[in-house]
Symmetry: C2
Amino acid sequence: MTIEMIEAAAGRLAGHLRPTPLLRSPFLDEIAGRPVFVKPECLQHTGSFKFRGAWSALSALPPGTAGVIAYSSGNHAQGVALAAKMLGLAAVIVMPSDAPALKIANTRAFGAEVVLYDRHAESREEIGDAIAAARGLVLVKPYDDPQVIAGQGTIGLEIAAEAAALGLTGAEVLVPCGGGGMTAGIATALAARAPELRVRPCEPEGFDDTARSLAAGTRLGNAPEARSICDAIVTPMPGVLTFPILKSLCGPGLAVSDAEALAAMRHAMLRLKITPEPGGAVALAAALFRGEALGDGPVIAVVSGGNADPETLLAALSTAG
Amino acid sequence: MTIEMIEAAAGRLAGHLRPTPLLRSPFLDEIAGRPVFVKPECLQHTGSFKFRGAWSALSALPPGTAGVIAYSSGNHAQGVALAAKMLGLAAVIVMPSDAPALKIANTRAFGAEVVLYDRHAESREEIGDAIAAARGLVLVKPYDDPQVIAGQGTIGLEIAAEAAALGLTGAEVLVPCGGGGMTAGIATALAARAPELRVRPCEPEGFDDTARSLAAGTRLGNAPEARSICDAIVTPMPGVLTFPILKSLCGPGLAVSDAEALAAMRHAMLRLKITPEPGGAVALAAALFRGEALGDGPVIAVVSGGNADPETLLAALSTAG
């Protein structure tokens, strides 16, 4: 991954992104005991940063590409669906037939053809490969794809510019981390454009594979019995492409509990007037509740997505945290 | 009110405002049956547009002014408090002693001195006048002040520029309306910079004094027994300064029910990932549910504030609308 690839992705994204300027509240600063700035990517098209990587990848495809295919029941699906629609490409999303009806409906609403499969009896890869071969579609992976990482890295370019405008030096940049595409992209951009800002991956407890992998120096997975409400980032282990970047550029990882993620959602709703989803709130949770693991300066926390269902928002509002 | 005053206010606000670029969701477009763009002023400093007018008024005070005083238990109080703090002015906010503890705490957190009074036994005007005289403070009214109207009008300058960038012509601009300061400011700005956009004031049922006043051609009040959850805009009648502007520039007013305001809050939380307060959601509610009273084109709805308490957000999420 190079800064030039990220700059090129930013060029292709120009005019197609929703601006997500930093937010701040004195009430959050008080909880954290330090200035807390929030990058609200929940306000991005489709409600998450995933639109950036999807557009970056799809807009880099050779002319004449028939369309794309992706496996996802979540934010990547919606990002690929909308980017494909805006670029005039066909999009097929392979989703388990027991995925939430709302997510299936959302993916269709963003213009994609949804192919359902029985995840107990069928292989999504076999189904996807057959469709891709028959229709000449290109697979778009959620994080282990250089153009996807470059697209997510455009968040880092914006953070570098916004931090410079605010005179923020020495800040830690807290990033929700699943497979590591966004974290790797932001870390690459900041290493080139704002090397005094240090990226820290943030994960749910039980899915802290990145934190443990960074500590061990090698890719480790999570226990199979682990569970978390942070569905957007409960990935099995760091990516093949992303982990070497994280290892080279990031500070130690942080992990937060589901209760802390819900409490961070509540504070974001009441103080910043945004609605994160649980996985999107883990970096803000770390900023608010894990200060002992942070340096002395300000933090910039990315709120990566907001595609929570009403029940989850109700649960967050009902927390006492 | 002149466009030059609004442009001057925009100049004084430059570098001190949080950007609030327009949001949109295909799901809201589907409900409304037309493109719906949302200006999310709930993301503004202090959680409402009121910061604009407060800064505009305070930054126009003559050098040497000791400080300001305001009566408000709501968004104007917080806007004045923060603007005064940022400008290095003393601020006294006169609030009823039975105001919600959270609002008192918030106003103090933004740096103001809060003076409580017993609203059953004391006159806030007498208390305020005595403090103002003793300490040389200037009263800042919530809407019937030219510099406040000019500050709110900067929203109109932004909408004009954003609509032009989107190629939106013929849109109706729906604005939550209490005393009419924001509506008058936006209407003045658009009349000068985007005269093809028509402003429509939006109010809660029972507090549709502006709609009825526009229909009658003269200022009318509301029935004393009227009640609404839209606390930010339950003002008694249009302002002395604001009404002539509304009468000259605005289309007919629209009124929505509390249930529609709550449903609009729910859709905003789930689809736009923002949390409006009830009064801040009435224009979006009109866009979504009162299409029969609108023209054929797209609408731009201002979400004017987001200072709802958790119980109100819970009520909104629990609606079926």
